[in-house]
């Protein structure tokens, strides 16, 4: 994959403890799945960076290759790929998401 995109993604996930690659922005999501994950993070009052893949076609394709995951959104916490919408939703419902946030020392509303 494109070296520049790889570096850009690596920089983002290194500099932002919680990073959501999404369609649209946290304030204006452009897809229901991106909105769902964004909302869960908002409810938990997690400070996260939303990265709009619709602004850059090479990033949109690049993140799929980077994570070896074919869909958007994609959530990274402390450089680790946590999952897409279905997995995050399941983890939100069964409490695993809170546990990961806690384990990785991310502030959230308990």
């Amino acid at each position: 994959m494109d070296q520049k995109i790889k570096e850009l993604i690596t920089d983002e996930i290194t500099n932002n403890p919680v990073c959501l690659f999404m369609k649209g922005t946290p304030d204006a999501p452009q897809c229901g799945f991106s909105m769902a994950v964004s909302n869960m993070l908002k409810i938990l009052e997690v400070n996260y960076k939303g990265i709009n893949v619709l602004e850059d076609q090479t990033l949109r394709e690049g993140i799929k290759e980077f994570s070896d995951w074919p869909t958007i959104p994609q959530l990274y916490i402390k450089k680790e790929f946590i999952g897409g919408c279905d997995i995050i939703k399941e983890m939100y419902e069964n409490g695993e998401l809170k546990k990961i946030l806690e384990d990785k020392a991310i502030n959230f509303k308990k």
């Binding site: 799929k64 070896d68 995951w69 074919p70 790929f81 999952g83 919408c85 279905d86 997995i87 983890m91």
Partner: protein, 75 residues
């Protein structure tokens, strides 16, 4: 672009023999599906790995012909 429900089921069952696959067409438009897949092949694997197995069974169609497939995996 759309994909038939039966076709999705066929791909998943080919890759995961013996799996129980339930698919719903959420919007009735052949584009937004939800699938629950139960397979013994998931045992001992993380959720990410389980979902990847399902994505891989669709041979690159996910995100292309197939716009939206919500996945739920069970062991």
């Amino acid at each position: 672009m759309a994909m038939d429900l039966k076709e999705i089921e066929k791909y998943i069952k080919e890759a995961l023999p013996g799996a129980v696959v339930e698919i719903q067409d959420l919007a009735g438009d052949g584009n937004h599906y939800s699938a629950t897949i139960t397979s013994s092949k998931f045992s001992g694997k993380s959720k990410i790995e389980q979902h990847k197995m399902v994505y891989n069974s669709l041979k690159g169609k996910m995100g292309n012909e197939l716009h939206a497939l919500a996945i739920k995996t069970k062991e």
